[in-house]
């Protein structure tokens, strides 16, 4: 009984359930929610957060964090715009930008693993540095005239359905991330690293190498997001995606990923991302003001951590009482 109970109150399951309930309610009661156009907007605008949330979840499970993701995205967008203005082909530019993301991640990773600096501090630093470099690179320009096949891909839908074209690659990436985190030895070792780095090292896990990989992957995904962002919104500016890191962090936290490391599931993180995205969409359709939306987001976050805690305490108390009564009767 406590077993099934504790499984039921696992927060990622709750978030998933909340998402489903929200979707059902919105489909039935919110005007304009269910049509293909709105759903494609919803998915398209949530995609950048979702894309970065994938590697971020792995990173947080291993006990680290990367706050520089939005700046990395901005930097690759800026470089993309700059190179495009210089007349380079987009087919060369995109790989260059992705490579740049890898370098950004590598810098973070090396500072964290080689110098042993705390990732929170390092990535607050690179958050400013990368954005600053983006500003130096692109300055006040806003580049909008990317080739239309690319723009159409980033903004377009699959036929007349609600799925953005870019959603399909995301699903593939999601599948890869789920398998890596939950089914491979590498993913398993991430949980051990997050929960106790020293014990993981004593068990032969290559802690530094694993973390370096994660930072590099995060940089790569962030720059992929930056490229997608610039194409999706047809605008490359140095301040693209400013503040996105907080949205990602909020969504991942909402999905039940523990920032002390060692706990969480990708399912929870992705549910958190789309729960926040859908909620905002619904609230806008219902004409809830931006200010009230902020409050709702905040309350949701607080509840997301208080809820499971309270539920668990109730469960524990109940189990304890039962044990006492059985001890007395036996």
């Amino acid at each position: 009984m406590p077993d099934s109970l504790s499984r039921a109150i696992r927060w990622d399951t709750v978030v998933g359930a909340l998402l489903i309930v929200l979707l059902l309610l919105s489909f039935s009661f919110v005007d304009g929610f269910g049509n293909a156009l709105n759903l494609s907007f919803l998915l398209g605008n949530t995609l950048p957060i979702a894309l970065i949330a994938l590697p971020m979840t792995l990173l947080v499970v291993s006990g680290e964090i990367d706050l520089s993701v939005a700046s990395t995205a901005g930097l690759s967008g800026a470089v993309m715009g700059k190179l495009w203005n210089e007349g380079m082909t987009i087919e060369t530019i995109i790989p260059v930008c992705l490579l740049l993301g890898v370098v950004c991640g590598l810098v973070n990773g090396l500072l964290v693993t080689r110098l042993g600096l705390p990732s929170l501090a390092v990535t607050i630093g690179t958050l400013a540095a990368y954005r600053g470099i983006a500003q130096i690179v692109l300055g006040s320009d806003a580049v909008t005239d990317f080739p239309s096949p690319y723009l159409d891909f980033a903004a377009g839908r699959v036929g007349d359905s609600f799925l953005p074209q870019a959603f399909l690659p995301f699903l593939v990436l999601l599948a890869i991330a789920v398998v890596v985190l939950h089914a491979t030895p590498f993913g398993r070792s991430l949980f051990a690293i997050g929960a106790s780095e020293e014990a993981a090292r004593f068990a032969g896990v290559r802690v530094k190498r694993a973390k370096l990989w994660l930072f590099v992957t995060t940089g790569f995904m962030a720059s992929l997001t930056g490229v997608f962002w610039a194409l999706h919104y047809a605008s490359a500016r140095y301040d693209n995606a400013t503040g996105l890191e907080l949205s990602v962090v909020a969504a991942v936290l909402l999905g039940g990923i523990d920032f002390d490391g060692g706990k969480g599931t990708l399912g929870g993180a992705v549910a958190g991302v789309f729960l926040l995205g859908a909620l905002q969409n619904v609230m806008s359709l219902l004409n809830v003001s931006a200010q009230s939306q902020i409050v709702v987001t905040g309350v949701l976050l607080v509840v997301s951590v208080l809820g499971p805690r309270v539920a668990r305490q109730i469960a524990v108390a109940r189990a304890g009482r039962r044990a006492v009564t059985s001890a007395q009767t036996s």
């Binding site: 600096l117 600053g132 500003q135 200010q291 902020i294 409050v295």
Partner: protein, 346 residues
């Protein structure tokens, strides 16, 4: 430890003299490193621009740092207990506006400041209660209250704003005047800083903040009232954010619903640069204050040297990285010094 200590050879004398010096030196060293970086920066700037350290220039430097110093002081208390308060920016914003509305309605400046502090205490209590009673991760909770307080602020304030014209002249002047080059605001911040530092070092409950940040479970076993202390740290943090809000109003003479947005990252940077460790239990408020001074000064130094504002952000980030890297190197030195000391001799 060695087995055979001669019964009447108090080895403690040796240990005390060298040990005290070492430990003290160790902790001072980290702050000295920041101070050195700061001084070098100031000197270089003065060499490049003789206008930099005029009376006005010094006053500006101090004024710029004041508000961040206050908030960073409060934040370090919380970080020392292995928690964090991300909602300080929102708290600052809402208390600044509250003080502003009071003054706008012809209220008394002292009451306005008290009002801001009280509101700050309220926000701090909210955070503290959620974190200590709910026993939930501070990062999530305060990210939540960051949104909640900001949202409430925006709903309440709407598009209103308080401008200098709404404020009594005495209050606005207070924000920029002072004793020679030392503004009143900086004196307030200094007083708060010294009091907090003294409290942390010389009072039992102050030391307990370090203890419970260093090892929460052990603190519970040692009978430290963990929840009450955490609540206290958050309350002080909120109060100082509130006070900072009132001073912000005096200094900038302008508050709207966006005041203080994004301030949390600046504060966290200052605290981190100042050597307060995020895993709790170590660091000092004067370190954090130095970190705040360093960070705000960078923003004055670069324009004074004529560096284009395009470069400011990148340089800021790189300096931040440098500062924590230097701190880390110092810490490693310290660790190896300790290890050497540890090598005992029979």
């Amino acid at each position: 430890m060695t087995v055979a200590t001669p019964p009447h050879a108090p080895a403690t004398d040796v240990a005390k003299s060298s040990g005290t010096r070492l430990v003290d030196r160790v902790f001072r060293m980290r702050e000295l490193a920041i101070l050195a970086v700061f001084l070098v920066m100031i000197v270089v700037t003065q060499l490049g621009n003789s206008q930099f350290l005029t009376e006005q220039g010094i006053k500006d430097l101090l004024l710029n740092a004041t508000i961040l110093v206050l908030v960073a002081t409060g934040q370090s208390l919380v970080v020392i207990t292995r928690n964090v308060d991300l909602s300080v920016g929102s708290t600052l914003g809402i208390s600044a506006f509250a003080a502003g509305t009071h003054l706008h309605g012809g209220g008394d400046p002292v009451v306005a400041v008290a009002l801001a502090v009280l509101l700050g205490i309220g926000c701090g209590l909210l955070n503290g209660l959620l974190v200590s009673l709910g026993q939930v991760p501070a990062l999530v909770v305060t990210l939540g209250t960051l949104y909640i307080i900001r949202g409430i602020d925006s709903i309440w304030v709407g598009s209103r704003q308080i401008t200098a014209a709404d404020l009594p002249d005495s209050f606005v002047d207070f924000g920029s005047h002072g004793l020679w080059a030392v503004p009143w605001l900086a004196l307030i911040a200094l007083a708060v800083l010294v009091a907090t530092a003294y409290y942390l070092k010389h009072f039992g409950s102050g030391r307990e903040l370090y203890a419970l940040g260093s090892h929460p479970e052990a603190a519970r076993l040692a009978g430290i009232p963990v929840r009450r202390r955490v609540l206290f740290a958050y309350t002080v943090c909120g109060a100082l954010a509130g006070l900072a809000g009132a001073l912000y109003l005096a200094r900038f003479g302008n508050v709207d619903s966006g005041t203080g947005t994004g301030y949390e990252l600046t504060v966290v940077s200052a605290v981190v640069v100042g050597g307060v460790v995020f895993t709790g239990g170590s660091g000092s408020v004067h370190g954090a204050a130095l970190g705040a001074l360093l960070l705000t000064s960078i923003n004055s130094v670069l324009p004074a040297l004529g560096v284009s504002s395009v470069w400011v952000l990148a340089i800021n980030g790189i300096l931040l990285l440098l500062a924590i890297a230097v701190d880390r190197v110092v810490a490693l030195r310290v660790a190896s010094a300790l290890k050497k000391r540890n090598a005992r001799h029979a």
